[in-house]
Amino acid sequence: MKVDMNIDVHHLTRVEGHGNIHINVKKGKLVDARWAVVETPRFFEAMLRGMSCEMAPILTARICGICSIGHALASLRAIENALGIDIPVIAKKIRLLAKHGETLQSHFLHLFFLAAPDYLNVGSVIPLVQSNRAVVEIALRLKRLANDMCDILAGRTTHPVSLCVGGVSRPPNKEDLHKLREQISERIPDAERTVELFKTIQVPDFIRETEYVSLKGEENYPWIGGKLVSTDGVLKNENDYLAMTNEYKEDFSTSKFTRLSRKSVAVGALARLNNNYNFLKAKDIAEEFGIKPLNHNPFMNNIAQLVECVHVMIESLELLDELLDEPMDEISSEYDIKEGEGVGAVEVPRGILYHHYLINKKGLVEKANCIIPTTQNNANIHYDLAELVEQAVNNGKQDTEVKKLCEMLVRAYDPCISCSVH
């Protein structure tokens, strides 16, 4: 039987921002499969012009409510590279811990609030409060930990306050760090229960080979700065990020698309894991789920996020031990305003994020460019959709099922749409 299908998801729910899915199948043949971002663009790059560079991290944090710490860090790194500032080791550790808090916050939000309802067949986390109270409580405890972590290290979860050019402006207090350490240890069993929970779900079986781009770890799983790498063997310096992204624009989407060696690339947890598997401190968990590089199932991004959560919790404990052993008097470096150009690449929850600024001798931003992970994933989502629908139709799946699969696929990328039309 040849089927016709017209799927139109207008403003996909449980994602950050506004995006639509259009699927058109005529007589069993795919005519059109589109991922269209319809979010209103905000023009941050234009607004940055003429602003003092110290204000740039404060402004660009507002690109995204979920990964504001990541944006601030990329922005700071770009400025610090432009002005030739070396930040103190302690500040680096504090920043990384803050970022870890954000990664946990974002990943857990996605896993429990946005993705899990699909697997548990409910519309949102709200009915789970009644039906799966235990799961909701685990989710809330883990999110709470992530929130507290950001609050202690960056002053606030959304739009951080104590990350500044040169380092950090206020050190966390040791008492809080002690408590945080305890809290993380206490939450490890919750993370383990989450792993058990996700082992019971059925991840759709879907493969489309693509190119995975991320930072390249040297000694550790990479988060802030370093070389850029792809699974197709491309290796570039941070400054050459444009060669990694090659942005272009499609008419039906307000967010741009990118490509590298093939027609699309993917970034995010799965990309990081594919490129840096050996540095993972939660390899055992990855093995339990059977992810090994190279994994080409985009749905496995959810699992990669979970693996990263455990990795991040372990690494945070190590970082906290180091911080607690050191005096915290040197937290920021002095610097002079001068002309310069710099790029900052940071692995935020959804993938690699670039900020690039040209700063004039008054310290004002002359030109800015920000390339967001979701932008880099858009093309991949778009082409995945086509492939997924074709496979599903061939397997005789019906409208509702295909629609749900499509939605789940987009959600698996955890797109941050308002981010992508910054």
Binding site: S52, I58, S418
Partner: protein, 254 residues
């Protein structure tokens, strides 16, 4: 529901986002300690960021974000017709927020800067009240979780919520901070409405007024203080216009 023998209502609420970072909605999803209790106080019928349920019957519409495209204006007008109470959520919705920095340039210029030869549609940024009537405003970039919760409670209890009338300095000093003006920075705490617990200054980030003006806001005096400290009009303006929330008190002086 009852409290002290007084009948309470359970309002149907919806959250809608426009031009913004969705950080304010996230504050609500991030209230881990009280989320479960909160969900029993109100009936959430639309909350796209975390829920697939969509319904057209709601009493209170929370509007997040500024308005910057024709389709947003239409969507907002539709919501206004449906909702009994329209609440602007966050600095973007209340004042335009950081999006207003776009106003420094022409529309063509910003579109060209970002999209080059593939122009997209955009309008000069407006706050929600510039488009439809707004019943209540909750400022903050992002909103304060505690304050939001208290506002909802007041709504449910049927009593009026009052913002603090005094400026951020009170909370700043209550947190034992050292004044940032004294550290050579521009801080707008003295003219900004308190209620955020001085969260920025606690982290040594000066206040740029995301919560809008305090009831008593002696801008001429603060401006003179800043000028005497040697800040240029451009430096001062960069801060006072950052969230577009203080223009009401700063625009008449130049």
């Amino acid at each position: 529901m009852e409290y002290l023998g007084i009948e309470l209502k359970k309002p149907k609420v919806s959250f809608f986002d426009f031009t913004c970072c969705e950080g304010c909605q996230l504050q609500i999803a991030n209230k881990e300690d009280t989320l479960v209790d909160f969900l029993s106080l109100v009936e959430v019928v639309n909350f796209r960021e975390i829920s697939s349920e969509k319904k057209d019957h709601y009493e209170i519409a929370f509007i997040e974000g500024a308005i910057s495209r024709q389709d947003e204006i239409e969507r907002l007008e539709k919501i206004r017709k449906q909702a009994k109470l329209v609440v602007a959520l966050g600095t973007c919705a209340c004042y335009g927020g950081v999006n207003s920095l776009k106003k420094r340039f022409s529309v063509e210029d910003v579109v060209n800067e970002v999209y080059g030869h593939n122009p997209v549609e955009t309008l000069p940024v407006k706050s929600v009240k510039e488009v439809v009537a707004v019943d209540f405003e909750i400022p903050g970039c992002p909103i304060s979780k505690a304050e939001f919760e208290s506002i909802i409670l007041h709504l449910v209890l049927g009593t009026e919520f009052r913002f603090k009338k005094y400026p951020v300095c009170v909370e700043c000093k209550q947190n034992l901070n050292h004044c940032l003006l004294d550290e050579g920075k521009i801080c707008l705490g003295p003219i900004t409405r308190a209620g955020c617990n001085a969260v920025c200054i606690n982290g040594k980030l000066p206040c740029y007024g995301c919560r809008g003006p305090a009831e008593e806001n002696n801008w001429p005096s603060l401006k003179q203080i800043l000028t005497e400290k040697g800040f240029s009009p451009e430096q001062i303006d960069e801060k006072t216009s950052f969230f577009n929330s203080l223009t009401e008190v700063t625009k008449n002086e130049s």
